[in-house]
């Protein structure tokens, strides 16, 4: 089966239910297209968490994929037959009965001092506490693909493929530098194997993680072009599913997926124009734009965003 643009589609499953995905989709993109809001639950309180940063920087979207826990679904390509399960919350992330505890123990449930007596009950208590603390289960034996180490050498290693990284890549290729490795943590039409440079070792080797494998790269020259990191705003209820950073909206728009129908933009940065373009091109409308974050009193909703409560600020914000 193919969509209008001719891309092939296939099926993956989320908690046993079939979800359609298209070539070029990340797992998260396929889930958002299907209308999934709650991707996981927060660790201490069982607050719902959705698709948030879209760039592998946060852990809102982690799920168990083909028996491997803690997989960032926003930067993992979807593949036919993938078995995806939410791993936080019980019985599932979208319906988490353990959130009852949040209402009973409003401040926090103290795992250190409760559930310790009688001591013969400890094994049972531990099972409950592990569920409450939403810790993951160990990987399935057959799903295990232990990270193996591969040593590589190159002339130039470019870390990052944003504006300056891409330009440098083209320039080096043009200058005839053949042994060139570019690390790019975003999955896109040209990149089906997102990679992340995670450290430099004492001998100067760069550690790069790609497809469950660690590459130790000895390069004669390294270009660090890691760019800038999007930081969210401290909004009340700002962790609700439906609150998402510009890159998340962009990644969805690239795949013609609508982040939502009616969007509110809060704050001001260089990315504002791109966000507006992304929202409109995917068919969403921008219903309001608050330049001053303080104008937004709180984000409304329980399981996902329903609206924002806004107020007029005394000093008039610059138009």
């Amino acid at each position: 089966m193919a969509d209008i643009s001719g891309r092939n589609s296939f099926e993956i499953t989320l908690n046993g239910k079939p979800v359609r995905a298209y070539t070029g989709d990340t797992i998260a993109a396929a889930l958002v297209r299907e209308g999934v809001h709650v991707f996981s639950r927060s660790t201490k309180f069982h607050r719902p968490r959705g698709y948030y940063c879209g760039s592998g920087r946060c852990i809102s979207c982690v799920m168990r994929v083909n028996g491997i826990p803690g997989v960032r679904t926003c930067s993992t390509p979807a593949a036919p037959g993938m078995v995806v399960r939410t791993e936080r919350g019980f019985p599932s992330s979208s319906h988490d009965i353990l959130s009852v505890f949040d209402h009973v123990f409003r401040k926090e449930f103290d795992y250190q001092h409760r559930f310790i007596r009688p001591s013969f009950m400890t094994p049972l208590f531990q099972m409950i506490i592990r569920r409450l603390a939403s810790s993951s289960q160990l990987p399935d034996a057959e799903g295990l693909d232990f990270a193996s180490l591969e040593r590589r050498m190159c002339d130039a290693l470019i870390i990052g493929r944003g504006v300056s990284g891409s330009v440098a890549h083209a320039r080096l290729q043009g200058a005839g530098v053949r042994s060139l490795i570019t690390v790019d943590n975003r999955m896109g039409p040209e990149n089906n194997a997102p990679s992340t440079a995670f450290c430099f070792y004492e001998d100067g080797d760069g550690g790069v993680l790609s497809r469950n494998r660690i590459h130790l790269i000895k390069a004669r020259a390294v270009l660090i072009a890691t760019g800038r990191n999007e930081v969210g705003l401290p909004l009340v209820n700002g962790d609700l599913p439906g609150v998402m950073l510009p890159e998340a909206v962009h990644q969805l728009a690239l795949r013609r997926i609508r982040a939502g129908n009616h969007a509110v933009i809060v704050g001001m940065s260089d990315l504002k124009e791109r966000v507006e373009r992304d929202l409109r091109s995917s068919g969403a409308s921008v219903v309001a734009s608050y330049r001053e974050p303080a104008s937004v009193v709180r984000v409304l909703g329980r399981r996902s965003v329903r609206g924002v409560e806004a107020r007029e600020l005394k000093e008039r914000p610059a138009a």
Binding site: A156, T226, R228
Partner: protein
């Protein structure tokens, strides 16, 4: 105000962690930590260059130029050694 999506536009902070771990010197530009680099993109660690947003550049043209300049410096380094 009814809506189903909220997009917060917070500050854009240079991702200096990797460069910092590699031992590169940092400097503060406009209140944000950035990787310190000379006009040709060299950092304080020999063989490591930096370009673009991580060095504190914001405007697109500047980021493009910094990538070109650093690439040229790398070509020179590879040719020399």
């Amino acid at each position: 105000m009814k809506c189903d999506t909220v997009v917060p536009l917070g500050p854009l902070v240079p991702s200096v962690e990797l460069a910092q771990q590699a031992g590169c010197e940092l400097s503060v530009i406009n209140g944000l930590w950035c990787v310190k680099s000379d006009p040709e993109g060299r950092t304080s660690i020999p063989g490591i260059f930096a370009s673009g947003g991580v060095t504190g550049l914001v405007r697109n043209e500047e980021r493009i130029v910094s990538g070109e300049v650093a690439a040229s410096a790398i070509v020179k380094l590879l040719g020399d050694s």
